[in-house]
């Protein structure tokens, strides 16, 4: 798989924080790559200073796709280029807080919702759970550290299987899309687009469920093994304390 850049939209009202986050993200692909150079995709950072601007950016993208796609494939490509893989937003911002932004993004109702990670300098459990229940992928405490970037990468990776599993589908659709555009068959194109997003969603769900099932299976297996071991041990101790010989153990 080629190292496709992860497009991050950073939303923070503090200029200092914006720059620091940008550097952390940039450095993570440059210096942090190292051994896993092939795996670590670089981050492509776009930074804005308010939730409003973030929504404008995301909204414009959607608008482009909704209105311009049928008329010009070039505009569609441009809109695709501007797409955002993950939003990293500050919680405490004037006017529109990170929580408001999170809800607004989730309310966009796109078939493939953009993952949102909220960061805050305050470690308030209430705030954290509020954001997580509203659909935030993760909650990171400020100031950001290098391993937080790793977490962010994982969150953006939650949608990555889309490109990993359904990547070929996507690519097929892309070429098909272009052909369709050339033939000026707009309804077909839209259908295809819908189908591709549907496929991607399905792949995501399957991936998530299989991961969880295998995870739980392992846990249950370990628990059963542990219970069995405890049972055996207690039996053994019981017999030994009764003073019977080891042989009787086997006879029983």
């Amino acid at each position: 798989m080629g190292a496709e850049a992860v497009r991050v939209l950073v939303v923070d009202d503090s200029p200092v924080d914006r720059r620091v986050v940008e550097l952390l993200l940039r450095a993570h692909c440059g210096g942090g790559g190292g051994a896993a150079a092939g795996e670590a995709a670089p981050f492509h950072v776009t930074a804005v200073d308010s939730g409003k601007k973030a929504m404008e950016l995301l909204g414009r993208r959607r608008g482009d796709r909704d209105h311009l796609t049928p008329s010009s494939p070039a505009a569609a490509a441009a809109a695709n280029d501007q797409a955002i893989d993950i939003v990293l937003t500050d919680y405490c911002m004037p006017e529109m807080t990170g929580y408001d932004l999170l809800k607004a993004i989730k309310a966009l109702g796109s078939p493939n919702p953009i993952p949102v990670v909220v960061m805050s300098s305050e470690n308030e459990p209430q705030r954290i759970s509020r954001c997580l229940t509203a659909g935030a992928e993760d909650f990171i405490l400020k100031p950001l550290k290098m391993n937080d970037v790793q977490r962010l990468r994982k969150c953006s990776g939650a949608t990555r299987p889309k490109s990993a599993v359904a990547g070929d589908d996507d690519r097929c659709c892309n070429t098909a899309k272009k052909a369709a555009a050339a033939a000026a068959a707009t309804p077909e194109q839209q259908q295809q687009q819908q189908r591709s997003s549907h496929l991607a969603g399905l792949a995501m769900v399957m991936n998530a469920s299989s991961f969880e099932v295998s995870h739980y299976f392992q846990l249950i297996f370990k628990l059963i093994l542990l219970a069995y071991a405890v049972l055996c041990l207690s039996q053994l101790l019981h017999r030994w304390s009764n003073g019977s010989s080891l042989l009787s153990l086997w006879c029983a």
Partner: protein, 149 residues
């Protein structure tokens, strides 16, 4: 030779800032990222951003506290911003004084806030002086570098 001496001076300044608690691990991390990540001039950029931002915020707070009726929520919001910025840069001492400042805001004590503002200002000016010395040293070292190569 002179470049090496300057570099020693810079290292001494940075370690004294760290041992005095002016800056913390976050600042060291930024410095490390700059050196390893191949982004020269990053720390100076962030430090300059921080100094401008903090200066602006401190002035805003001062004007707010001069009002006949002080809006403590607004003051608190500004102090929170300053705290966030200093945490991101790793300006530990300013961050701590901001935390105390916020307590006075919550108590809605004007005198307490004025006192805290004086402390924050003092800590910030102290740090800014050190940062400026640091930036000057870095510039001097950079001016030497091409000649050596």
């Amino acid at each position: 030779m002179a470049a090496a001496a300057l570099r020693d001076q810079l290292t001494a300044l940075l370690s004294s800032m760290f041992s005095q608690g002016l800056v913390d691990e976050q600042f060291q991390q930024l410095q490390m990222l700059q050196d390893e990540g191949g982004t020269p001039g990053f720390v100076s950029e962030v430090v300059t951003l921080f100094c401008d931002d903090a200066d602006r915020i401190i002035n805003e707070i001062a004007t707010l506290l001069e009002q006949p009726v002080v809006n403590f929520d607004k003051v608190d919001a500004y102090v929170h911003q300053l705290k966030g910025s200093s945490a991101s840069v790793g300006a530990q001492k300013v961050k701590f004084t901001c935390m105390q400042f916020r307590q006075f805001c919550q108590d809605k004590s004007r005198d307490g806030c004025l006192m805290a503002l004086a402390v924050v200002r003092n800590d910030f000016y102290d740090l800014r002086n050190k940062f400026q010395t640091m930036l000057q040293l870095e510039q001097q070292i950079q001016a030497y570098d091409p000649k050596q190569q």
